[in-house]
Subunit: 422 residues, 2 copies
């Protein structure tokens, strides 16, 4: 079962070690390798200095078949990766004509002067295969040694992803792809904590064969259960995973909200596509987060017609159609205002569904009746209006995430008919 | 200069290696350690298995004085860290009464049944100091060996941060704090690329003394320059950094937008606080991202009155006061519509300033005159209305980020008077 190719990721940059940048590249690379049946076994971040990078290369080439290095390839003086790789793998620098032409084109298209240091980006060690970077000026490089490969990529995510997709993954697949199949299945649950879920399915978990693992991933108001199987027969493995997933789903009943490891907004978007539905948003405390999440999805404009971020009481009246008397009587964080926001924005924008959220995030708001952390969420649609109250005890940002998460869940359940208006 | 204490972070979890989770903990930990003058030299992610975790502990204890381990402490069966640490450091498991009482309270406050596996969270090796977790059930643990420390923390960011602030950082400071001062200064520039900036300041960079480093951090439409100095005399170091920062600032002139390493929305919020100003937003292609960014800031409700996400033409008319004829004549992505959106939302919400963004993100929109990637941004305020056009060539999400970044920059420059209406 251990004949999978192993991979390591080395990310280079002092900015990672002083916390100025969050590394999103590694997770993306991990997903892509995993889909090829390649295990990412190690991820490591080192500073911009030759000894640490060299030591990391030594250690990871010992451990893994594929070592992916990101960062340290830009045009400025703090970039040391390319000379280091030349030193490490030997050879001499050469100019790559295709890269040079490409860099020239980028600068002429943008009407920018071309500098000596930009020309240097076309220099590559003759000991590497050039991985062409359609999206930027710094090429990727692939070095081979003793049946292993080191792939060096720029740290800018958009460029890194382009080179991986177009240049690196095909070469990785050709050399190491698909020795062992890996199958994942994720069940998303909501409404109970990790311990409760674990207790409810303990006997199923204990009966899992050795080649299938179950992991618990707690998130904002939800717990994901991830089944992972490894084996040599893809179809058999898929059948086994499906059987266990079905058993877990039956046991957990109404706690299960999805069988796909996708954010809840994507599940809602898929539902809307299937049902040709439209929706609108009225956000107070979530402050645009829900709109932002939905508008990350391509073609969402067929379903998401628009929304308002009515952060003040005045804005609730002027943009979401809330009655000022309702605000005065019940306060901004109330069932009545949440329902009027949903009904109001649905009418104003002519949408089939509407979701509204109003709450106190903290740290400096709240009232005696509705303390910090209180949120009212309402959905309006063809089946009437429903509202739910939650209270969270976290800090501002986490409360906002929880509010958004619970709001998406309520809309999802309303659309699916698993929750109905009184 | 190398007498700083060194630290490593080990993050545990298969979810990190299959790319299901993005590690935000490490960056946060790095910032906190750095502020104490402690160098984070290594960050490493390993899977949920005993050999890899043990090997990582061996290697990082060799390398660093402080090893921080996150993840693998939850109540469910996939957690293996605690028994491993018991094995690694010796001792026997004991029940910690304070933790037990705390876990009981959490469950009784939430009216949840308490399970056997929750009780087990109060078990700790007697070879560790317990780091009390006010925010959750899994306690942190601190082990000492040969003048070095291993600190084990839960992976949930909110809980990890609480334990670090309240329990771990004070102990780290007591043992290793402030041997060497580290001073950072970041200058944020916009309008030119990394190479251009580097060329413009090459002589200043070359004149930097050995103990001061300059790094280039390219971001969405901006390049940050980070000066980092290390030394034994804090005040002298601060003066030196200030001198070089002033030289860089003078040289780069109008490209410099900020002297603080903070997101542009925070700079705008500070300006609004100083000038007692209010603003509103009308977002089309940025789809709520700008609202979301602003509402991450505590007390922003004093300045941000609200906004609309007018994703369709109809929504632009109904919620942002755009004239349907203007839409028909010029199209949704036009200077005229952008200006009407800004003027409209400013009037509707009675704000002093308004920012509007309308563009085509892709992948499936755009017109002959205004292709995918085109964006019009407008600001309306006491000095009149201005608008700017940009075009980006990235994918949907990156185009959205660039649009938001350019919009914030335009509002910032308008407020500062460095850009004026014609």
């Amino acid at each position: 079962m251990n004949s999978n190719a192993k991979a390591s990721v080395i990310t280079i940059g002092d900015e990672l070690l002083i916390g100025q940048t969050i590394d999103t590249n590694s997770a993306w690379i991990a997903q892509r390798l995993n889909a090829l049946g390649i295990d990412l076994v190690h991820r490591i971040a080192v500073g911009d200095n030759v000894p640490d990078i060299t030591h990391a290369l030594d250690a990871e080439l010992e451990r893994s078949h594929i070592v992916i290095v990101t960062g340290g390839l830009g045009p400025t003086a703090d970039d040391i990766t390319k000379p280091l790789l030349l030193q490490y793998f030997g050879g001499t620098m050469r100019i790559d004509e295709r890269v040079l032409e490409h860099v020239r084109n980028i600068f002429s298209r943008r009407n920018r002067p071309m500098l000596e240091r930009n020309l240097k980006q076309a220099e590559v060690p003759d000991s590497c295969e050039v991985l062409f970077n359609e999206r930027g000026t710094a090429p990727g490089m692939l070095f081979r040694r003793n049946g292993r490969m080191v792939i060096s990529l720029p740290g800018v995510p958009y460029e890194m992803m382009g080179i991986m997709e177009q240049e690196a993954l095909p070469r990785i697949t050709a050399t190491y792809g698909n020795e062992v199949a890996i199958v994942h299945h994720t069940i998303v649950t909501a409404g109970e904590g990790e311990s409760f879920v674990a207790e409810a399915i303990a006997d199923i978990e204990n009966a899992l064969p050795a080649h299938i693992k179950l992991a618990y991933l707690p998130g904002a108001g939800m717990v994901k259960l991830r089944l992972t199987g490894k084996g040599h027969q893809q179809q058999l493995l898929q059948d086994q995973i499906a059987t266990f997933a079905a058993a877990l789903t039956q046991r957990l009943g109404h706690l299960v909200v999805s069988q796909t490891d996708e954010p809840m907004e994507y599940a809602i978007a898929r539902w809307c596509a299937t049902h040709n539905a439209t929706f609108a948003l009225a956000e107070s405390c979530t402050g645009g987060l829900l709109s932002h999440l939905f508008t990350q999805i391509p073609s969402i404009s067929h379903h998401f017609v628009g929304g308002v971020v009515c952060y003040t009481e005045d804005a609730k009246v002027r943009t979401a159609g809330v009655n000022p008397e309702t605000l005065a009587t019940y306060g901004a964080v109330s069932e009545e205002v949440a329902c009027q926001m949903a009904e109001g924005i649905r009418a104003i924008l002519g949408a089939q569904y509407a979701l509204a959220v109003t709450g106190f995030l903290g740290p400096a708001t709240g009232t005696e009746n509705q303390p910090i952390g209180t949120v009212w969420i309402a959905v309006d649609g063809p089946q009437g209006t429903i509202a739910r109250k939650h209270r969270f005890y976290y800090d501002r940002q986490r409360n906002k995430e929880m509010d958004a998460s619970m709001a998406l869940l309520l809309l999802w359940r309303y659309m699916n008919g698993t929750i109905v208006a009184a």
